[in-house]
Symmetry: C2
Subunit: 732 residues, 2 copies
Amino acid sequence: MTSSDSKPEMEASSTPLQSTERGRFNMIMARSNQEHPTFQESEPLDKPMSRFQETADLNIEDVDTLNGRNRSEHKTNLIKDPYLVVRRGQPFWIDITFNKNVSNLQDFFYLKFEIGVNPQTSTGTKVVLPSDQGQMLQWDMQVLTSSGFKVSVTITPPSDCIVGRFQMTAGVPVYSRIKWISSTIKDVYILFNPWLLKDTVYMPNENERQEYVLNQRGIIYNGNPNKPVGRPWNFGQFQKGILDACLYIMDVAKMPIINRGDAIKVIRMGSAIMNSQDDRGVLVGNWSGEYGSGTAPTAWTGSPEILDKYVTKSQPVTFAQCWVYAGVFNTFLRCLGIPARVVSNFRSAHDNDGNLKIDVILTSELELDTKNTKDSLWNYHCWNECYLVRTDLPIGFGGWQVVDSTPQETSDGMYRCGPASVIAIKHGLICYPFDAKFIYAELNSDIVFRMTLMNGRLKTVFVDRSTVGKMVLTKAVGHNGQEDITHWYKFPEGTLEERMAVKNAEQYGCIRSGTSFSDVDVELDMHVPDVGLGDDFQVTLHLRNTSRSRRIVDLYLSGNVVYYTGVHSSQFKFQPLQGTLDPWKTEVATVNVHAYEYMSKIVEQRVLHFIVIGRINETERILATTQMVTLLAPKLSITVAGNHVVGESLNVTVEFTNTIRFDLVNVTIRMEISGHMVFSPKRYRLITRGSTVKWSEYYVPQAVMHTSVMASLECATLRQVYGEVELVVTDH
Amino acid sequence: MTSSDSKPEMEASSTPLQSTERGRFNMIMARSNQEHPTFQESEPLDKPMSRFQETADLNIEDVDTLNGRNRSEHKTNLIKDPYLVVRRGQPFWIDITFNKNVSNLQDFFYLKFEIGVNPQTSTGTKVVLPSDQGQMLQWDMQVLTSSGFKVSVTITPPSDCIVGRFQMTAGVPVYSRIKWISSTIKDVYILFNPWLLKDTVYMPNENERQEYVLNQRGIIYNGNPNKPVGRPWNFGQFQKGILDACLYIMDVAKMPIINRGDAIKVIRMGSAIMNSQDDRGVLVGNWSGEYGSGTAPTAWTGSPEILDKYVTKSQPVTFAQCWVYAGVFNTFLRCLGIPARVVSNFRSAHDNDGNLKIDVILTSELELDTKNTKDSLWNYHCWNECYLVRTDLPIGFGGWQVVDSTPQETSDGMYRCGPASVIAIKHGLICYPFDAKFIYAELNSDIVFRMTLMNGRLKTVFVDRSTVGKMVLTKAVGHNGQEDITHWYKFPEGTLEERMAVKNAEQYGCIRSGTSFSDVDVELDMHVPDVGLGDDFQVTLHLRNTSRSRRIVDLYLSGNVVYYTGVHSSQFKFQPLQGTLDPWKTEVATVNVHAYEYMSKIVEQRVLHFIVIGRINETERILATTQMVTLLAPKLSITVAGNHVVGESLNVTVEFTNTIRFDLVNVTIRMEISGHMVFSPKRYRLITRGSTVKWSEYYVPQAVMHTSVMASLECATLRQVYGEVELVVTDH
């Protein structure tokens, strides 16, 4: 990994101390882990040797970092790079070979750990460990055994140690100085340690650690709350080059080295640097549907390809939407050792001024006024959760923390969000940092229908309190099922606890609409069935008169194509209806929707949004309901033929049948064996309706593996089509 | 005020909706108050006229904004610009003259208020007020009287109204449309309203409002806690062009218009944009002592000159240190109507990793190791306080809030800090946003002396718990004296409340050094007298043996020249001493300091830092104490001769006698009549020791005024020299 060809503005080097700051700072603050400490031939012993005289003939021939043993004990053996990678607060082994017999342990030697330029003991960026030390406050070195020319020691970095790449050097005393031996220099990567009780990222449950730290594959949920769809994602946090990429990301963010042991700071920095706003971060957002100058957000199958690109090209990668940000951020967090997961909030409110209302503006004719409807309701929104102790908050707010790297509008000056305590959000205690109020609104807003009166005055005519934050999902621990974690974020509707949480939130400025509409005596429900892309279907409306009088209701159904962000693209249907309801009676109305009505207007992710607004003639009261539906797309089917044995050829085939009633043009299919092989994408100029395409590749596995084959299909009218199949290759 | 010649990167215009965001947002979000709404000839009436028919012949001839009356009632009459400036939530008067008799009030008319491009009713950036309205939710218009061709109305903007420049247009109905009359367009500036109970910036006490909102002059304290020096500062928030400059600053920060009614957001944005880091803000920091490419921070006498420069040149102004940032920020806040004051924290800890320790690193020989001492103790540090309700925090944390625009190291990604509740800081409740932890550390850190043991290990040898946050000062209300507000920030030392506050802070991660040194049985005190620059003086040390045994103490005094930030420049004196102390006895030692020792090394602000470190031979315990002293400089004396009557000539003279025992070269003297006249600076190549220079200017006042004449003197070896005298000019 190199960034020697990086453009000037991406330079991840330490900012030199500017001359204008001469009177402010004593020293340069290192902000890069790429630069090495300068090698010093020797440095003075600050205290004269007492017990024994130094021996000028002592030398160190070799330092063995025992990677196999250490990486296995530190749960870092999945990392594909060949370095020593250990977790802080936990001992690791080093064998040192001398040029003479040292079995009586009467010779001194030293190990030095340094990180960044200008390392210093007072900042924790440098530590010198002498072999004769007693109790140490911070780092600990114990000499265990010595036999012949070899000495074994264990090193334990502190449990709040800086995370990153340290340089380890061995030295011997020569005439009141330590002589450092340049041939012994080795890199030692130190990570967060969720297995260590004293670490702020400690996670008590081993199954959860396996999932949230070590699992390199995941599922990201999208679609509708009544029909969530899991999309496979290759986090690949241990693939070759990813650990270095994660350190490089902190360098681009110019994060001071001395802050890199603080999980809260690393997480908050990460949420800012994942997006390219402010700081030339990792990913460029694009919600336009036009991705010609990059890769469509729906086309990515995992994080490693993105991180490789970011490091190689030294510039932000095009393009991302929320699940791409969350997927790559999850890789970053798990790679550094912070337990993390991707969660999806269905019907996520995206409100631009941080109140608890999604305003839907209607004209005086009760039609949707898209020009004046500023807020939007995302069909789903993905963010991350990290697991850690919140040392900056009162006791009780540790555990899962929301953090969101998708650039939002109101995230306090920079594009970032969190970490915010999930427990604090649940209880409405949104006064605690960071950005809890914003996330609370995403989960708890009302949809307020406001009618425009004469000259722009707005009157609230209907409030929908139950749509937003319908469900929060994440992948289950240990298997590929889903876990509903809505109850982590919300008390059950109607309970005393829920009302108290709302009261708390109101105290901190999240005021709900106070308007009540209890005197509306007609109930309105809408049902949209599961629909395949290109199908005709029916929308069913149920109207129920709960009064003792007859009711005549004028209403209309508006069918719209929207982005997954809920932003309106175009209206494809508008149908007025009238219902006459006898007392206590229910009427059913159906509206036919034809494929030709919506197919020419469809945008990626295939979301339709139906709005029904009605007015009761007798009482002038307003009824309203909305429904989003994601049209189902055909799947890719993947098969693997062959013996599934190391060294023997596999035949991997992806197959796609265009079951849609339209032709597809300019189609790209991508296929990869997660963590092992990315095939060149395959392009098709035309796939006519009803036809099938098949693409096969041969692959010879070089090692035992437990991974998956993933494929995705992209074209301008059909995105978010993918498939996955498990792949296990054994020795025999 | 214009920015037509601004450079591209400073353009304060609204960012157009990027094409990549088409699927995310419905509309452009206005971020500039410079751009006007597009004039619309007419717009439809959303509801047909009912009571009366529109009359095609009705027209509006004139709209009178009654500036005299309104500005007086809204306390905006000090503003030198000719606009209508009012405060939100409070009615203002408008007279409208028609082309016909309207005394029976049967004709409709409309007033429209708009701000920014693309104004919209749903975001509060547009409101249309009809003359026949009943109760309004937000803005209110009342028709009061009509006689002949004239109608008088009052307008009341809501108490949470967006702050900035609105455009007001009048219109009449013509055939189911409103015809807007372009000749009636007027600017109406709306500010925060500390006089209004419902406003978040409400301040109950009238004397305090007079001081913290309306007073254009102030005093900023510097120097030492035992001898604070007040420096006059011209805030000049109502001078010509300043209000427009403050709106321009929000435009440069690209602050969304719809957020500009939220005082917390305006304040936090302000703390980021006052410094040029991140965002090409107002001021460039420089602590180097070399200011050739700009104005020395000590040379400024007030904010208006800086803000004028910023707007005219459209680029950050050079140079600032903390009191300049605080002075200009105070102008911004008071100008917009947010009560604000500048406060000085003496012995302000500037710690780079947010713990509660200022580490002083000593070598194993007990000498100061400047190379490894990273933290610094600022002799004083200036920040601002704002007065407002914290709607985002639990009840009880409103009132004064700390906000700091001097760029610091650890302010969460961007260079800004606060607002943080003073009450929360006092009680150690530093978990509440924003940046309370950082400010708590500035006030409550320990100075920890750490000795370097063999190979870089550090041992704490002495902890000074009483130096940091020694005193917090601000200008008193209603007169030019000082007010000690330390008790707002800290409980008295040794009380139960203080210990509880420390416990709270520890809970949120501010851990104090636990080491206790109760077994040190020799007490050490140092006394440095008031010293003039260029004087010889004596430092006195008191050593008191509190044990029943004899004690021999080896110690040394180190005299250093430092910046006001505590950053070390050079050592000018090093003197070892030895004391022999009989049981229960006190010894006094004196050290002579000669002017020739320090004068060649002195840096601006003339701060000397004395460190005394000692070791008790019998117990090996360490003693330590430090003392900063600011050398006194000669003052400028200012006299005003003449009649002090409008239209008659005044003779203004500034006089300086070089009482220092050295010659001064390349001296600049500045003089201004605050808010009225800035004279061209006067330069002197040489002012020999003992000599006096005198500079007179004539000035003929054009209006009644109550202001001051201020002067400052600058040269490379002598800065922070100034003088001020009151100037009252009457009608006769």
